[in-house]
Assembly symmetry: C2
Homo-oligomer: 488 residues x 2
């Protein structure tokens, strides 16, 4: 490879894509495959345009696209620099960090409010082990053969009952087994998103989804979240303007805000999907963790979009990672008829099929009553954690306000004081406390006053210890480097 | 959706991609999501051009791209029709069909020479079960937590020894654990292939790879296979012309031909990779199944490309599906330094991480001596099957010739008589015998005289029964509908 990787860039005028996209793509490759290192400075727009003999606008557009993906950062007056790792790399740390024990001694002393990864001590390991052994005794080698790409038929049939109980009436031929929720997002993107297509997301949203959509070369447009779902006027406006292929939505306990869509907004969403001919990818990652029964006066979360879907507009995505065990790497999609063939091909191209052993084990486990006992057990535990963390946040209203989700695994808070959540996160990190700053959940990762506190992977006593540290930090915020001007 | 889906197509002149690519993309979507049904006729080129007010060349180019992906077929004088399912859908049947028992009663009476899926009765189920239980007793919940996306560190360290024994000297930080070989191909495509990039493949090749590359919107160029590897003149010519990002190659026991690259061609390949600045994705899916030791006078297969790679040009892809058990869904990549970061992100976007339970179990299994015993056991069994099938093919030289791979799990044969392998496959199917016709392994699936006979999933007695049926069919070929004119 040439000394300066930039010199390897060529922009033939006969290329099948516009110059700025071509330049963007080549720079993106150089950054992602490490030839352009973190922190290195890109040539100025003028220099780049001159060397490539293109219009400066071409370079500006290419740099803008790169910045939108956080691959580069512009420093006013200084130029454009390759970002220190993509925000996605940090974000995955945030989302799936393992509250580790033997495996992650480095983690032992941290208070992890950042990770959404559930506590291993809550996993029904003994029961899964029992069913796994049953499968191996019964099915022997078949458990380790390739499975149908659509998924083990008896499992797909078993899933119909819990779906029905949640108001989703479908058939086994519309169910696609997947290797976890992330793969579900990826597979739908493969089927519906070609280069240059538009996809809508909530703002803020799950960074793992942003990474997939950007990886497809899609145009990602975000709609602001409100307490009862996205802003409908903004949504309708962008629908008209960008004609998106689909909208990625977490309608119950949205990640990271915890907000749940009102029935009204859910109805409107379905009407808009029909009117503007787009699909909705409904990510139901922890719908079950609804604490309203424990909270008395609250009303439970409204039913899923899919259960209200009469026009086959909704792709229902279910993962078992948060409510059972992430390590099973299993979930499923409930598909509109027209997407079945495309999804089957995409699944096969992705990894041929999901582990037969896991599929067969999950089938036996779901058939047993134990699944529901497990849900009740973790709901009780998570509710206790929820209450402790909620009371802490209430006690800090001088410094922050927050949204009470009445469910899920995290709180979304907003600093009232003059510091960004990145500053708070850094101060906390020094003290051994991990929080997820709001920057992780936006397509442009600018400092902002929001942050997410998760109680998925930290038990009650440690929540108390960790929040005590956060309390001290908040009380001393005025001593922090004061370089932040709030965005909102 | 509108009555006639074609009417939904719009070609705004301000779209970010050329008109023909835009049209191609929209038609592809309509076909893949089922709105344009199999067998339905596309508008004539003139009509389409007229309705969309574009040049006929635009439509011709779009239809050509669709045909290259087998999404449509042109019938001279009749027009262009949507293909009956993509050849990929059939192809996956061919590659990963489970020689099923309880699971697939329909399969019980077929003689499956089509599938490359190994026989479940050869799987070391009891041993894997034992180690799986050890893991669950030792690691408990951690086995079901999210794992590092790069893979369980102790497993990556364990893999270094067998690699070293095969002349590949690397370090654990260059190893990426993946959920099977197919995912490895997909992940490399995500990192190296953007829309419009060129990738080289062998002709014929593994259809699962074609599907991935076409799914990325890449330009797939194929190089003819010869007995000692691809045609080097053709390769060099296409390297200059198309500047590919990488070359997907199976250098030992290539699928489907069974050919193994000579050391000379392997050396040349590495020199060309350095000279023309491209990577080689070396798919080592059954390198181990080398029967030359049993065959006495033969020399064993030459070492892998990766073991000769001094410039970090080779991405080594290893799957355990064929040599251990497909259902484990596990494999690994050995990466050039510059690709590590991009691959890690792509893996995370694909499915976050590979099952921790499987990774931990495999680690224990590989550490035990049992892994080598298993390899020796299956090699002996497969060699017996190989000999029976080879002797059958020799006895049919009046009707066909074939290549003797001296390893692997299949033979590549060519009909000498006036019938296509599709015709042979159809006649065989009627008699309960499955073979893989050559059309499955080319990017354009035209009838041709080649076919693959695999002995992965069929034991010796059934090989004898199945080949007896094939013998009868070949002897009666002259009675077949005679509508085939050989291509080669």
């Amino acid at each position: 490879m040439s000394k300066n990787p930039i010199e390897s860039i060529q922009l033939p005028s006969n290329a099948p894509i516009p110059l700025y996209l071509n330049l963007y793509g080549q720079l993106k490759d150089l950054i992602e495959n490490g030839q352009l290192e973190s922190g290195s400075k890109l040539p100025s727009i003028r220099t780049m345009a001159k060397n490539l003999q293109v219009n400066t606008v071409t370079v500006i557009k290419a740099y803008d696209l790169l910045e939108r993906e956080n691959l580069v950062k512009k420093h006013v007056g200084q130029g454009t620099y390759v970002s220190p790792g993509t925000s996605f790399e940090e974000a995955l740390e945030v989302e799936q960090d393992v509250p580790g024990l033997e495996d992650r001694p480095d983690q032992a002393k941290t208070y992890n409010f950042a990770s959404l990864s559930p506590s291993p001590e809550l996993f029904p390991v003994a029961e899964i082990k029992e069913y796994m052994n049953r499968v191996l005794e019964k099915d022997r080698g078949l458990a380790f053969s390739y499975q149908e790409s659509q998924g083990y038929l008896p499992l797909r049939k078993t899933l119909l009952k819990p779906l029905q109980e949640n108001g989703i009436h479908t058939s086994e031929d519309k169910i696609q087994i997947i290797s976890g929720g992330q793969q579900g997002i990826d597979i739908i993107a493969r089927v519906l998103l070609e280069f240059g297509h538009c996809v809508l997301v909530e703002e803020p949203t799950y960074p793992g989804a942003l990474a997939v959509f950007q990886g497809r070369g899609a145009q990602v447009m975000s709609i602001s979240m409100e307490k009862d779902g996205v802003n409908m006027d903004e949504l309708e406006e962008k629908l008209k303007k960008f004609k998106p292929r689909f909208f990625y939505a977490m309608t119950n306990f949205q990640n990271p805000t915890g907000c749940t869509y009102s029935s009204e907004k859910k109805k409107q969403l379905l009407e808009l999907a029909q009117k503007h001919n787009f699909y909705i990818l409904e990510d139901s990652y922890l719908e079950e963790l609804d604490y309203s029964p424990f909270l008395g006066n609250k009303t439970p979360v409204s039913p899923s979009l899919k259960s209200m879907d009469r026009q086959e507009r909704v792709i229902y995505l279910k993962s078992f990672s948060k409510i059972l065990m992430p390590g099973l790497r299993i979930g499923f999609l409930v598909l509109p008829e027209p997407l079945k063939a495309g999804v089957l091909n995409a699944k096969h191209a992705a990894d041929i099929s999901t582990s037969g052993l896991i599929q067969r084990t999950l089938k036996l486990y779901l058939d047993s009553g134990r699944w529901k006992n497990h849900l009740n057990k973790i709901k009780k535990e998570y509710f206790q954690r929820y209450e402790i963390l909620r009371d802490f946040l209430k006690s800090q209203e001088e410094y922050l306000d927050f949204y009470d989700p009445c469910g899920g695994l995290s709180f979304w808070a907003r600093l009232k004081v003059n510091m960004s959540s990145d500053q708070l996160a850094e101060q906390a990190r020094i003290r051994g406390v991990k929080i997820a700053s709001g920057a992780h959940f936006t397509s442009y990762s600018k400092p902002n006053p929001f942050f997410r506190l998760s109680f998925a992977g930290i038990n009650c006593p440690r929540i108390r210890e960790g929040t005590a540290i956060l309390k001290e930090i908040l009380e001393n915020y005025s001593s922090f480097p004061d370089e932040y001007t709030p965005l909102i």
